[in-house]
Amino acid sequence: MTVMSYIQAITAALREEMIRDEKVFILGEDVGVKGGVFRATDGLYEEFGEERVLDTPLAESAIAGVGIGAAMYGLRPVAEMQFADFILPAVNQIISEAAKIRYRSNNDWNVPITIRAPYGGGVHGALYHSQSLESIFANQPGLKIVMPSTPYDAKGLLKAAIRDNDPVLFFEHKRAYRLLKADIPEEDYVIPIGKADIKREGSDITIITYGLCIHFALQAAEKLAEEGIDAHILDLRTVYPLDQEAIITAAKKTGKVLLITEDNKEGSIIGEVAAIIAENCLFDLDAPIMRLAGPDVPAMPYSPPMEKYFMVNPDKVEKAMRELAEF
C-alpha cells in the first residue's frame, strides 16, 4: 500500500499502462515537457519520450480526431482535454465519430480511445473552468462516461478505460486532485466500468451521486449518524450507461432517495437516475425523489460569494438529507 493523491493515482495508472502496453500513448496540450497544467502526466515525457507523450497543437477537435484515427489503426491513445470545458470543440469528433464507429461499421472498426478531462467547480475557475459536462454526452450510445470519486477508483477505472476497446470519457474532479489521498495497493488492479459502488451501507435514506459530491455526502452522513439517521450512499462511478440494477436496489433499500450532482439541475445525469427509479420501483418509495444540484444558470461565477452559492457543499447536502429523513 502507498498513500497517493487522486492525481498521483491518475499518473500512476497512466504510467503502468504505458509500461504494460506499448500501444498506449498520450496526446494533448502541454502534456509533454510541462507534464500537464495539473501535472497529471508529470514525469512521463522524461520516461517514455516525446513520441509517446505528445504535445499537440492547441486544437481539441484534432486531439480527439487524430486520437480516433490512431485508435482505429490499433493504438490506445489517451487524449487529454486541458479542462473539460474545452472538450466542446471536439464534440463532433466524439459524438459523430468515436461513439458511432463500431456501430456504423457493423463491428468492423472500433475506437479504443480514452479521453481524460478535469472537470468540476469550487476552484475559483469561473464559468469556463468549473463546469460539469457529462450530460452533454450522456445520451450517446457507444460512449462510456466514467467519473471516479476516490484515488483508488480513479486508478482502477482509468486502467479499465485504457484497456477498454470502446471510447471512454474519463472526467476527473480537479478539486479532488490534491484534496483526496488514500491507500493504493501496490499490485495491478482494474475496476469494471459500468458498475456503481456502495460507498456507505445504511438503512434510512439512500443517496445516489458521483464525483466530489460523494465526499460531501459521506461527511454529512457521519454527522447525521450521530442523530441516528443512517445513510446508504451509492457512487454511480460510470454515469453513462448507468448501472440500473444498482440504482434500483439502492432505491428500494430505504425507499427514500436523494440524488445529488454539482451540475445544473435540469437535464443533468440525476434526472435519468430519477426516471429509472420512477419506472422500476415507484411503489417502493416512501418519499418523492429529491434532487440537490446547482441552480439553472449557465455556469458558476468567479466571485467567491456567488461561487459558493452555486456549489453543492456538505452543509447543503446535510440539510437535504435531514429533510428527506424527516419526510
Binding site: A59, A71, Y73, G74, L75, E97, W109, D166
Partner: protein, 330 residues
Amino acid sequence: MPNNRHDALGLSDAEVLEIYRTMLLARKIDERMWLLNRSGKIPFVISCQGQEAAQVGASFALNRQTDYVAPYYRDLGVVLAFGMTAKDLMLSAFAKAEDPNSGGRQMPGHFGQKKNRILTGSSPVTTQVPHAVGVALAGKMEKKEFVSFVTLGEGSSNQGDFHEGLNFAGVHKLPVITMVENNNYAISVPFEKQIGSENVSIRAKSYGMFGETIDGNDPLAVYEAVKQARERAINGEGPSLIEVITYRLTAHSSDDDDRTYRKKGEVDEAKKKDSIITFATYLRDVNVLTSEIEEALNNEINIIVNEATDYAENAPYAAPEDALKHVYEM
C-alpha cells in the same frame, strides 16, 4: 504518333488499362444506381461521375497493399481500386446485411472495410481528415512504411477539422496525402461563394506542406502528383495537399435538383472533358485500347454490374433486432 505519357511515368500498358477499367467500372456502377433509384428500388445515390479519373489515378499511385485510405462519399473509384467489389457496393446500395461497409446501416457512399484498410466514414464532412492524420501518426510511431490518403470536397475544406488536422500533420511531418476533389460546387454553392482563396492547394502554405493543383480529368497527371507525394511522405518529407480540378456531372445526389442553380450549358461543356471519354481516346491513340479490348471490357463490366445488382437485390436484410448489435464490444 501521339505522345505515350504513361511510359514516362513507369506505367505499363496493362496498368493503364486497369486504371481505365476501374474508372469505367465505377461509372457503370454509379449509372446503374441512378437507374435503380429512379425506378424506386433504392432510396438514395450519391455519385462519383466526373471524378473517376482523379480517384483512380490517385489510388494507383498508392500502395494498395499497405496504404490506408479515408475516402469521402464520392470515392467509388478509390474503394474499387482498394479492393471493394461491385457486389459489395450494390449490397450497400440495397442496404443488405452482407454489405461490408456497414451491414446496411449506413447510406451508400459511407465507405469502410477494414480488410482493405478503408477507414469507416460518416456523413458530417471532413471528420475523416484528422482520422487519416492519426493513422499516419500511428504509422510513424511504429516505423511502418505506409502512407494514409484522405479525400474531401472543396466545400468541405472550409471545416475546422481540415485546418486542425492538416496543421497537426504539418507540425509532425506525417505521411498523409490529402486530396481535395474540387468539383466547383458544394451542393448549390459555387467555388467563389465558398472559398476565400484563389484555389484550395494554396492552403498547404498554412501548414508548411507541399501543395499543388492538378487537372482532375487526367488520371496520369493525378497519378504522377500522388506518386511524388507518396515518395516525399515515405522519405520523411511530410504531408502534401493535392487539389484536383474536376466537375460533378450529376446533381449533388438523388435528392437534389441542380437545375435551380446551374445552367445546362455548363454541364454540357464539362461533359466534353469527361475523363471516361478523354482517357479512352488517349488509350486508343497510343494503341492500348483496341476495339476488341473495349468490347470485351464493356461486356465484362456489364456482367459484373448485372450480377452484383441481382445478387444484392435478392440478398436478405439484416433482421430488425440486429439494430441492437455492436454498440459496444461484446
